[in-house]
């Protein structure tokens, strides 16, 4: 469904991603793990069009990104998400001065989701009853966990085929992390393809079909979630055992 092929991405003279290739198949839940600064967020930003692969990088160029066989690298973010990709960015980035309801409604701004708005809203409230309790509150008054719920709900309002999540558990208290992770698994079980970036590999790799390990801007390992969790390098670097 999503194919990232040998992309090179950087900021000015600083290159962050080196020939990174990642693939996500229809219906899969795929995780990317890696230490801070490995380029995980850069990878998501490039997929959604906030950053572009380098135009000139040797004979291979900056690489290419395709979604359902169509090239999306180089398109504006709003054109990429309209094809059925929704994103929960790092830090949730809810619209602070808008109410919970308005944050959810704006999630359905893409043409494909507009007519299904009422049904999507009911589904999101079924998934996160807490959001319905807070429906008229400005998003800035929500707790960190509620903001993540709202960001996930906003993304679901777009009726996406592919959901990208950038560290949804970051900064949440441990008791909430399991809840968010369970929700992500349930979203995937409903048929939405999920591409998850997560530091909390204990949860993420166990529920993932496949995973990638990104270090220093390069994919150093890939495999089934359970295999990676048993890999000596992963166990030593990320679990300390």
């Amino acid at each position: 469904m999503l194919k990232v092929e040998a992309i090179n991405v950087g900021y000015g003279a600083l290159q962050v991603l080196w020939e990174v290739s990642v693939e996500v198949g229809e219906g899969e839940l795929v995780s990317v793990i890696g230490p801070n600064g490995a380029g995980k967020t850069t990878l998501i930003k490039t997929i959604v069009g906030l950053l572009r692969p380098r135009a000139n990088h040797g004979s291979r160029g900056g690489g290419r990104i395709t979604f359902r066989g169509r090239r999306i690298d180089g398109l504006a973010p709003e054109k990429i998400v309209r094809q059925g990709i929704a994103v929960v960015p790092e830090g949730a980035r809810v619209f602070p001065e808008m109410t919970v309801l308005d944050n959810l409604k704006i999630g359905a701004a893409v043409p494909r989701a507009r007519t299904r708005q009422a049904r999507s809203l009911a589904e999101v409230f079924a998934l996160f009853p807490r959001l319905e309790e807070r429906i008229a509150q400005p998003a800035r008054t929500l707790s960190g966990g509620e903001r993540q719920m709202l960001a996930i709900g906003r993304a679901l309002m777009a009726c996406p085929d592919l959901l990208l999540l950038d560290e949804p558990s970051l900064g949440l208290q441990p008791t909430l992390v399991k809840g968010i992770m369970d929700t992500i698994r349930r979203i995937n079980e409903r048929g939405i393809t999920v591409f998850l970036i997560e530091q909390n590999i204990h949860f993420s790799l166990r529920m993932s079909h496949r995973g990638y390990v990104l270090e220093h801007g390069r994919v150093v390992l890939e495999g089934k979630g359970s295999e990676l969790l048993g890999n000596p390098h992963v166990r030593l670097s990320y679990l300390g055992v």
Binding site: P77, P89, F95, E97, M98, A109, V110
Partner: protein, 300 residues
């Protein structure tokens, strides 16, 4: 009644009439300023050509009335539509190229636009002052001891209505949600499928259209000329600062404050000093209440 009490009743009537005049004028100032507030709040552009949009709206109404005998009230939607298109085009074709540059760049570009508009207007319409007289708006209502000219009352009602309508649109419609989302986090708005460049153009169009309507209202009761824009740019900046930068309903209170201060100056001090008083008031607010008289503006 004694002479003294007659005099004090007269004084009270004059004071009341002055404040009433100020409020009526303030409604129009609010409409003339709300576009500036909207455009600044959404795209961060300080539009130095703002008053010229008011001037164009005023001329639109004047010529439609003078040449084609269009009822002045019917010119309001025409004024809105024409100025909306102009604003939309200015943002889409010119100002979108300044996105991401420092504030000074858009300020310089809009200053250039204002020079072009003023000089084009001088060239086409000359520097003459033009005044239109509308028979049915020329009458006055008498409310107890107070006199309310119909032209002023109509201008006030439409002006306040335009501000309220814009507020409703921002809070209650899909377009309003898109505009607010873009104002709060442009990148995130694009990630939910909103095209920020289109939203900026629509916001500029809306702000410009309302300014045009305000100009049409001004033409109901005061002369129209190409250089009138500068005053309205200054008034609009003052109103927005008084009401709080980026806080849309604040323009009503800012407009009333400006209108009343100006009317009081003209009645009790001297007509020529009204601008001085306005700027002194502005100075006081910036110094002591930088978030506006309601404290709801954005300070950066």
């Amino acid at each position: 009644m004694t002479n003294d009490s007659v005099r004090s009743v007269e004084q009270l009537t004059v004071a009341g009439q002055t404040i009433l005049n100020g409020i009526l004028q303030g409604g129009v100032y609010a409409a003339a300023a709300v576009g500036l507030s909207l455009i600044f709040g959404v795209s961060g552009i300080l539009n130095a050509a703002h008053g010229e949009l008011v001037m164009l709206g005023a001329f639109g109404t004047y010529w439609l009335f003078k040449l084609y005998r269009v009822d002045p009230l019917l010119t309001l939607p025409i004024s809105f539509a024409l100025l909306f298109l102009l604003g939309y085009a200015l943002q889409y074709l010119v100002l979108n190229r300044t996105l991401g540059s420092p504030l000074l760049v858009s300020l310089l570009v809009t200053f250039g636009i204002s020079l072009i508009l003023v000089n084009a207007a001088l060239r086409v319409w000359s520097a003459d002052y033009r005044m239109m007289t509308v028979p049915y708006l020329d009458r006055s209502l008498t409310l107890g001891p107070f006199i309310v000219p119909l032209s002023r009352l109509a201008a006030f009602a439409v002006g306040v209505g335009a501000v309220a309508g814009l507020y409703w649109l921002l809070q209650r419609t899909e377009l309003g949600r898109m505009i607010r989302a873009t104002a709060q986090d442009r990148e995130m708005a694009s990630l939910v499928g909103v095209n920020p460049r289109l939203v900026y153009a629509l916001a500029f169009g809306l702000g410009s259209g309302i300014s045009g309507v305000a100009g049409s209202l001004v033409a109901f009761y005061s002369p129209v000329e190409p250089n009138m824009g500068l005053t309205y740019t200054l008034f609009a900046f003052s109103v927005v600062v008084l009401g709080g930068m980026g806080y849309i309903p604040g323009v009503l209170w800012g407009g009333f404050a400006l209108g009343i201060a100006q009317a009081l100056t003209e009645t009790y001090i001297e007509t020529g000093l009204s601008l001085l008083v306005v700027f002194f008031l502005l100075y006081l607010v910036l110094q002591f209440m930088p978030a506006g008289i309601l404290g709801k503006g954005r300070i950066e």
